[in-house]
């Protein structure tokens, strides 16, 4: 057990923005929520999977909705509680631990705030090892674990319970409810036993994000190379370093799709992104794809650059970080490989 306290939040947010692969939204609001909750209720207890009692009931909590709404219609602060209580009523027992559904952007901070408010310990893990846009895109799906029962709570106090025939349907129904509720809701879903948490989650990612954030901060303070600090910690490959010379965006089928072109000494890298960076091509050859993490950082400062913030002139380094190996199984790739996002290329392992 360790404590997560106020001074840790900025590192965690920075590291989560990095592991968010350009998606997950700006963690600013999430950081403020976590700060407010910890200020009021004290630090969060973080536990490892080894510390889970056998009868633990681990519940991922997260925000679902549009980033634009998230920065405008701020939460009441009661949503996560309401979603959790509704889920507990359905299950007939209480949650013992909370966990992040994804380690990327704002959703890395939501369970921190919730853990401080509820007093529940936070499991050092997440269900993706990165960020993805949809509820079924989690490793537990590969092990046949159901997203539902899933509960959804809005700012007004409404809650809904979803029982769906598949995790894809859970996503579709939750998304419809989210739209009716003003495009910003909180969810509790994908309930896990201690054994399931151990077998299906990516472990230690909260600590990893925090360490990545600290590594960037310390490298900068010590005038060292922050990009090197990241690769030293997380492994992976530098796909390209250079200048962003073109960014184009368009909306098709409800998703913002874009391309960014990075021109550097090693050639021209084209990044295809939606909410996250999904495919990287160097001289028309695919060099990295989802589900591996394609992360863009400011070459000078090491600060992660989100897909929304990318623009002409940025000096960036594009990193390919290996995803959890379970994602590269045939089932994993069917769920989150390039075709799942409408790209016609296959999965390409990172260059070693």
């Amino acid at each position: 057990m360790r404590e997560l306290d106020l001074p840790d939040l900025d590192d965690l947010a920075r590291g989560a923005a990095l592991l968010g692969s350009g998606g997950g939204g700006d963690p600013y609001i999430g950081t403020l929520l976590a700060r407010a909750a910890i200020t009021r209720h004290g630090p969060v207890r973080v536990v490892t999977v080894e510390e889970l009692p056998p009868d633990a009931l681990v519940v991922p909590v997260s925000m679902l909705g549009a980033p634009t709404v998230g920065v405008e219609k701020l939460p009441s602060g009661k949503e996560v509680h309401a979603a959790l209580r509704a889920l507990e009523r359905v299950l007939g027992r209480a949650a013992t631990h909370l966990v992040a559904i994804e380690i990327g952007g704002g959703n890395s901070m939501v369970p921190v705030a919730a853990a401080a408010e509820t007093g529940l310990p936070l499991l050092d893990a997440d269900a993706m090892g990165r960020a993805f846009p949809e509820a079924q895109m989690v490793l537990p799906t590969l092990s046949g674990i159901s997203t539902t029962p899933m509960t959804v709570a809005d700012d007004k106090g409404n809650t809904a319970v979803i029982d769906a025939v598949s995790n894809h349907w859970a996503e579709r129904i939750a998304r419809a409810i989210c739209g009716e509720a003003g495009c910003s809701v909180y969810t509790a879903d994908t309930v896990l036993t201690a054994a399931q948490a151990r077998d299906t989650l990516v472990l230690g990612t909260l600590t990893l994000a925090q360490r990545a954030g600290a590594a960037i901060r310390l490298a900068r303070a010590g005038h060292a190379d922050p990009v090197r600090a990241v690769t030293d910690l997380l492994g992976g490959a530098v796909l390209a370093a250079g200048k962003v010379v073109d960014v184009s965006r368009a909306t098709t089928g409800g998703f913002a799709r874009g391309e960014a072109v990075v021109h550097g000494p090693d050639g021209t890298l084209v990044l295809s992104f939606q909410n996250e960076h999904l495919v990287a091509r160097l001289a028309d050859r695919v060099v990295a794809t989802t589900p591996d993490l394609i992360c863009v950082v400011d070459t000078e400062t090491g600060e992660p650059v989100t897909t929304e913030a990318l623009r002409y002139g940025f000096r960036v380094t594009v990193l390919g970080l290996p995803c959890d190996p379970r994602w590269t199984s045939p089932e994993g790739l069917a769920l989150v490989g390039p075709p799942a996002f409408g790209y016609d290329c296959g999965y390409r392992p990172l260059p070693s």
Binding site: I29, L32, L33, A36, G65, A66, P67, T68, V69, V71, E72, K73, L74, P75, S76, G77, K78, D155, K156, G157, G179, G182, C183, K243, V245, R249, A250, T251, G254, F255, A256, N275, A309, R311, Y312, G313, F314, R315
Partner: protein
Amino acid sequence: MRIGIDVGGTNTDAVLVSDVDTVLASVKTPTTADVTTGVAAAIAAVAGQARGGISAVMIGTTHFTNAVVEARRLTPTAAVRLGLPATAALPPFTDWPDRLREAVGGRWYLAHGGNEYDGTELSALRPEELKRIAAEIAAAGITSVALSSVFSPVTAEQELQAARILTEEVPGLRVSCSHSIGRIGLLERENATILNAALVDLAEHIVTAFGAAIAGCGIQAPLLLSQNDGTLMDVSHARSFPVLTFASGPTNSMRGAAYLSGLADCAVIDVGGTTADIGVLAAGFPREASTAADIGGVRTNFRMPDVLPIGIGGGSLVRGTEVGPDSVGYQLTERALVFGGDTLTATDLAVAAGRADIGDRSLVAHLEQSFVDATLERISLRLAESVDRMRISADPLPVVVVGGGSVLVPDALPGLPDLRRPAHHAVANALGAAIAEVGGEVDRVFQVPDGRRTAVLDEARSEAVARAEAAGAKPGTVRVVEVEEVPLAYLPGGATRIKVKAVGELRRA
């Protein structure tokens, strides 16, 4: 003829321009502690050279930014937010520095109200709740309120209705509404609105003092203030929206510099004593910063010019081949080698290379030519890189260089062969104020159903033009200078943020 004035921390500059915008006279005077004296002196200096009447006086000032940065002369302000039951998790004044929060009193209220992203009601206004808040505000002696409401940039009705209730209950209460000040992003828009509300008394004072300074010079012409987007606002608007003057200095400087070169699309490098400020203009206006702007430690999101400062100026210290970021600043004329001082500065290098004739050149004759050239080359490279960082396309981009430290910049920069140094560049700020036009802007989320994009864009365009005319632009001269549309992720109904800016000539009385 018009007079343009820039009130900076150190100098107050003024220019007299003709009706076709040629510079007839200019002056630089020290900014005085009471400000008004300096402004009056600057006006008198240029007005004396006017042949014929003055039709307008335009002033750009740093007063309001300074008041926030120094946390002085601020009006005690209450923040009232419509959004319950949502938003309670992060109340107004979240993430404010203590000093500034204390300076404005830090009083806040949450009330029911607000809208969803598509304009439907989040919750209904409760007049009784607002009346209760009004009573508390009155009892506390608060005279200025910052009113915010969830999604007011989509629909402002609730803010307007709440403002009516509050002012009916508390006669004389000044209410700043967030929809007039910022964009989507509740905390940042609310923060900017609180700063605005805290500046209303100072605005009243400043506007009155400027008016008196103009009248004292025997000039009967309207007073207009520079806004940070390069357009003007009249006195009544300035009284209500002082926060819109923030960062008008860099905007005026860039626009003035571009105008002097006859360019509408260019990069501007303004080299001062300590830093070089770099910006890019499109259609005569600086690009807006896309990131949150920090003012006195408070995060805001209203339009600010995108300026990249780098630590290179005329007074920058030279150590080895490293230049800056520290500088001898205003002590250049005592500490630089060419003035008999003991500190090697960037200006000394420019003199040694024969680019400038400042001070005594023999005092830098001992510097190795190869060292001087190599160090100046590094300065050029850093400036060129910074311009490259700010540009938005690979198209050729002319560069306009202004400011006291511009002697550091050679006749061409790597990759940027078209470099211009206009005359009168020392008063580019004041000129930027004098040539400003009147603008109107639309910036909010529209629903854009399939096949309706053109119609929705046209609607936004007409609205921007109408706003410019309402703000005092001459009908028939108004043109749209910027259209931006950003589709919003995860939102149904084709929700799109559309921003349109229109400007036109000032209507003459």
